[in-house]
Every structure is written in C-alpha cells, then in structure tokens.
Symmetry: C2
Subunit: 223 residues, 2 copies
C-alpha cells in the first residue's frame, strides 16, 4: 500500500490527498513535519519537503506534488485530471503552476510561516505587516480567480481538472489560517462550496492541526 | 510560426529554447524584459513572467516552461524529453522541479537580482552577503548533482532527458554570472561539457546580455 508522508496544513500534501481520493487509490497517511528534518525522511527526499509517496513492496518513491499528480494521471484512468487536447492540458498545467508557485510564494507560505511555524516551532509572534500584505495579495489573486470563473465553468475550462483540486488545496489552507475575506468573491465562493461538498474533500476538512484552530466557517459547505 | 517571448539570461526561456531546438520546432525570438511590465505582455501572461510562446495564426498561447515542455513532448516525437515508464517519468519531473524551484530560488534568482537586475534596472550595487550565500549554496547543490552523476549516466538515469536540459539552462545562467567555482565538481563539469557541445546549445552560448560580460570560459566546451 502507498504511504503518504505529509502534514495537515501542507497545501501540496492536500493536493495529493485529493488526487488519491478522487482516483480511488488506497493509501495510508504518515505524519511528517519537514522542519524536524528527520534523517529517515531526508534519505527519502534530499530536498526535505513533503509530500513524498512510498510503496515499499514495489520499491517506488515519488517526490513532489506535480510528479505525483502526473504519475497517477498516467497510470489510473478514473477521474482524468490533465485532460483534453494539448492546448487545454497546457492551460491546466499553467494554472496548477500559478497556484503552486505564485499563490503559494506570495500568500500561502508567508501565512504558514507567520501563523503556524512561528507558533509551533520558533515560538515567536507573527509579523502583522507580513500578514497584512499577504492578505492584500490574496484578495487580488482571488479577483483573478473570480475573473476566470466568470468566464469558465471550472478553473481551466469546461471540465473539472487538476487546476480545481490544486486551487482548492491552497485556498483551504489559507482559509484554515483565517486569512480569507470571502466578501466580494462570489464566483470563487460558489465554486469552493461545490469543491468542499465532494466526498474526497470531507476528510481534509475534518482534520485539525494541533494548537491552531480554524475559523467557524472553515468546514461548512454553506459559509 | 511560434514566437518566444524571452530574454537572454532567463533560465526558463533557455530551457524552452533548448527544447525547441532539440525537437526541431521553428520559432522566432522576441526580446521581453518582464520588469518593464509591458501592457501587451501582461495581457498575454497575467503573471508577467517569461517565457511565453505564441502562435498567432492558430491562436495558441502557451505559458510557463513546464507546460511548454509537456506540450511539445506530447505533440512532437523527435527527442523524447520525459520518457520511460511512469516511475522514470516521475524521477525526471522531480529533478526538473528541483532545478526550476530549489536551485532557482536559492541560487539563480538571487544571482540574477544582484548581478543583473540591480545593474540594469535599479542601478544599485550588489549585496555581497547575498552573493556569497548564493555561491555557498550553489556549491552544495553541485555536490548533489555530482552525486547523481556518479551513479547515473545522465541526470535522471540511463537516458538523456528534460532533467539534463533544465539543469543545463539554470547552470548556464549561473556560469554566465560568474558564480560557479568548477573546481571539485568533476562529474558535473564533464557532463556540462557534453551538454555545451550539443548544436542546440551553441546559439545560447553565443548570445550576450547587454552590459553584463560572462567569464572567459563561459562559452568554451573545454573549460
Ligand atoms: N514543489 C513541491 C513543494 C513542496 C513544499 O514546498 N513543501 C513544504 C511544506 S508545504 C515543505 O516541506 N517545506 C520545507 C520545510 O517546511 O522545511 C511540491 O509541489 O510538492
Ligand atoms: N515557473 C515559471 C517561472 C518563470 C519566471 O520566473 N520567469 C522570470 C524570469 S527568468 C520572470 O519573468 N520574473 C518576473 C520578473 O522578473 O518580473 C516557468 O517555469 O516558466
């Protein structure tokens, strides 16, 4: 069976969990805090990052959310994630990268550092200036997502795709950290309500990171 | 014909140029400085980043080096870039991501900011502390590349792949900026000499960024 090394507020781990659940791939979760830099984990992934997915019997180690996403899209037919013609597939991958890199670097990562890492690891208080800036950028980025969803049924076009699951993974982490003001983002809010109601999403929304409490609306489909 | 919006010292543009050349895809280069934030360019790519590849007649716009790489690997058979079984393909993509994200964030990007952007755009002098740290990290990362090449014929395994072209793109930018000490990195040096001698690499090595002069050995296959 596959073992997924991950932690509850890692957006890339969430992306992989959504993919495995949607595709019906049996797996077991192993809690890993990358900041512990555990020797056995560093041996699995020299970059020291979650997620890592391991199948001991077959001797397979898969590293990084996008290589893992492509792997299962190539090997499991159920719920195609990167679909359509080559141009559509490029658009899906563009948006996946936009969430995984731009939204992550400018919003999710600073939020995680200020509201989670400082609390759990270094016991400092968050830098409110950084938090305010990340929330301001989050708001701009949601405007772009609103714009996409005003023109398309799903994030990348007419079909549900990896772009939607990637977006939902990152947005759910920001939302958990209480950094999203949903007012004024109706298209994204409606889309997110639909994503949240998928059975694959429910276990994620039920899970809690120690010490850090999400806002009340976090796991509600109506919010 | 394809038009590639790019600039000479952008590693992601170089990655795409190597792919197009190896696959024999005719294209024309359009110089774009992303820091100018030109309106027409921002309309093409709201993220404001190079590379962007456009085919006006067919109305196709491809954004980002990895979506572009996957697109041409799916549509052009010549010189397969992401090949082998699904596990090998995951390993190729893991390494591509390692160069595009880790090496880029920790070495290439700070180098570009200190040695190029400050010179061309903001007219400040480079921060030597940041440069020293980037060079130290570059050296550690080359140790890891040495280790890979001690165990494998090419970066990701027995076959030449996208991992090699991606690595060469990033390394060539650092080398242009004079930030690599090749002593003590024989495996990587030998591999890079082979990459440099490929016809697809020659035009890149012949090109110069205004104002910034590369070290003498930069375009030599024997260095
Ligand atoms: N590109 C990687 C990014 C993985 C990543 O950045 N993971 C974070 C946690 S969400 C990490 O492990 N960072 C190292 C650390 O926190 O020490 C992916 O898509 O999987
Ligand atoms: N993930 C993108 C990264 C592209 C990127 O970061 N490009 C840089 C130049 S090398 C850029 O345009 N940065 C914005 C700027 O310099 O303003 C890719 O693989 O194409």
């Amino acid at each position: 069976m596959w073992q997924l090394f991950q932690f509850p507020l890692c957006p890339f781990s969430r992306k992989v969990r959504l993919i495995l659940a949607e595709k019906g791939v049996a797996h077991e979760l192993v809690r890993e805090n990358p900041w512990d830099r555990r020797d056995e984990f560093m041996d699995l992934n020299p970059a020291g990052e979650t997620p890592v997915l391991v199948e001991t019997e077959q001797g397979i180690t898969l590293i990084g959310s996008q290589p893992i996403a492509e792997y299962f899209d190539e090997t499991v037919d159920k719920m195609p994630m990167i679909h359509g013609n080559a141009v559509m597939r490029a658009e899906i991958r563009r948006l996946v990268e936009w969430f995984d890199e731009k939204l992550f670097r400018e919003v999710v990562e600073p939020m995680m550092v200020e509201r989670m890492r400082k609390r759990l690891v270094s016991h400092e208080s968050p830098d409110t200036r950084i938090l305010r800036e990340a929330m301001r950028v989050a708001n701009n980025h949601l405007d772009y997502v609103d714009y996409l969803l005003d023109h398309r049924r799903w994030m990348a076009g007419p079909g549900l795709s990896l772009a939607d699951f990637t977006a939902a993974a990152h947005i759910s982490v920001i939302d958990y950290l209480g950094a999203l003001d949903w007012r004024g983002h109706k298209p994204t809010k409606d889309w997110y309500a639909v994503m949240k109601s998928r059975p694959a999403f429910r276990p994620l929304l039920g899970e809690r990171m120690e010490v850090i409490v999400p806002p009340n609306h976090y796991d509600k489909v109506d919010f």
